[in-house]
């Protein structure tokens, strides 16, 4: 049985002294300190590598074997790319987070019909959305000619009923409306005059949940372009980190 060890870089044997070896370049360095630093370089592979690289680079540059002239295009391009990737990543991730938090999510299930699509529909919450158990807001598309709206919310078993009326196309469900965490509800919209909307046609099914469930739902069902933006941001961030580490 043989044991292999992957390569690992050299370590300074005494970092407190190793941090000072640059002083060896100072011409009139104190003799005692010089003696200590030179002894350190002899015994420390890491610091000896450092000094040897200095000497080797000096020799190769003076001999013309290495050109330290203009900044190489590849290096500046690479560092510029890393910087651009980092900025783009930040913007993309922030934009996608803003979209997740503030834009309505997609309806749950691409093949589910959105109720009331033809005449009116709920814009908040959307089909299948998880809303906070406390106060929440319902909104819908305006119905031309409507002077008043009525929203009726029931739970699946029909044990809970809440009704609210408004003359705007939104209504705030108060905290004491009594939505139960984890329960499923259905909201039905009707308009005044009553013949503007077919009865029961404009409705939305939704659930109430904890803050975590609300956030998870938003993240899961965010608009696809937001998902794409977020993934692009993460990819650019990974690229920026790799380039930065290089």
């Amino acid at each position: 049985m043989t044991t292999e060890h992957s390569a690992t870089s050299y370590e300074c044997v005494d970092p407190n002294v190793g941090e000072e070896i640059w002083r060896l370049d100072i011409p009139n360095l104190d003799a005692v300190l010089r003696r200590e630093l030179e002894a350190h370089v002899l015994v420390c592979h890491a610091c000896r590598l450092h000094r040897d690289l200095d000497a080797c680079a000096r020799r190769l540059v003076r001999d013309g074997e290495i050109d330290l002239g203009a900044t190489p295009a590849a290096a500046s391009w690479s560092s510029g790319l890393a910087r651009a990737a980092g900025i783009a990543a930040t913007l993309a991730i922030v934009a996608s987070l803003v979209g997740v938090l503030f834009l309505p999510p997609r309806p749950v299930g691409a093949d589910m019909a959105v109720r009331g699509e033809v005449e009116a529909r709920f814009t908040r919450p959307v089909e299948g959305q998880v809303v906070p158990a406390g106060a929440c807001c319902l909104s819908w598309t305006e119905v031309p000619g409507a002077t008043r709206y009525e929203v009726r919310i029931t739970d699946r078993d029909g044990d809970f009923t809440w009704t609210g009326t408004t003359d705007r196309n939104r209504i705030d469900l108060p905290e004491d409306a009594g939505l139960t965490e984890g329960a499923a509800y259905k909201a039905v919209l009707s308009a005044r005059p009553v013949d503007l909307l077919p009865p029961g046609r404009t409705s939305v099914a939704f659930r109430s949940g904890t803050s975590f469930e609300v956030a998870a739902h938003r993240l899961r069902w965010a608009q696809r372009w937001i998902h794409g933006l977020g993934l692009a941001g993460l990819f650019l961030l990974a690229l920026a980190v790799v380039r930065w580490r290089e």
């Binding site: 049985m1 043989t2 060890h5 390569a7 870089s9 450092h50 680079a57 190769l60 540059v61 002239g69």
Partner: protein, 198 residues
């Protein structure tokens, strides 16, 4: 066996002062620590294990006499010395796999050799060129001024607006640390893993 730190520091101080006999005490105390890490790094049937241990202890004694000072943490100092020698040996063997050992006989460095001596000249040149090319423009400009233009440090200090020349040396040191980091990553690795093959 518990390390007797007081006795170790006493022996080191005595050895630095010129007492050769105290060196035996230093070696006897540090032998356990050094042997532990060398035996852990190199395989059980590695023929160079004991040589690395002896080489490390000898290097420590030479350092104590040459520097005239004692390390703040002699055990950590000894362990790191030993590990660097093990790494040197490992790198040499890894970089020369498949090469007829007799052909290299005249060039086989000891574990005490500089890491740069493990590489051939062409590889060193190529790596150094890449490392210098990867530096930021400020570092490249500074090194060009020092290496090629041989601009005096005082002039560089005035151009940089620094109050002392030590600032220039320090900046150069930082640039060289980046070069060293490049070398360590590309040639000598940066992550330690241990694989056992049966």
């Amino acid at each position: 066996m518990t390390l007797d730190r007081k006795a170790l520091k006493r022996d080191i101080a005595a050895y630095v002062s010129g007492d050769d006999a105290a060196g035996r005490g230093v070696c006897a105390t540090l032998d356990v620590e050094v042997r532990g890490v060398v035996y852990a790094f190199l395989s059980a049937n590695d023929p160079d294990r004991d040589d690395i241990v002896q080489d490390t202890l000898l290097a420590i004694l030479q350092y104590l006499r040459a520097s005239g000072v004692s390390p703040d943490n002699p055990e950590a100092f000894a362990v790191t010395c030993a590990l660097n020698r093990c790494r040197n040996l490992y790198h040499w063997r890894r970089l020369r796999q498949g090469v007829d050992i007799d052909e290299m006989a005249g060039r086989i460095p000891c574990a005490d050799a500089s890491p740069l001596d493990l590489l051939d000249a062409q590889e060193t040149r190529n790596l150094l060129a890449e490392a210098l090319a990867s530096l930021d423009p400020d570092c490249r400009r500074l090194l060009r001024d020092i290496y090629l233009e041989e601009t005096s440090i005082e002039i560089l200090r005035r151009k940089a607006g620094l109050s002392s020349v030590q600032g220039i040396y320090h900046r150069k040191n930082i640039c060289l640390k980046k070069v060293m980091k490049f070398f360590n990553r590309r040639r000598f690795g940066s992550r330690y893993t241990r694989r056992t093959r049966r």
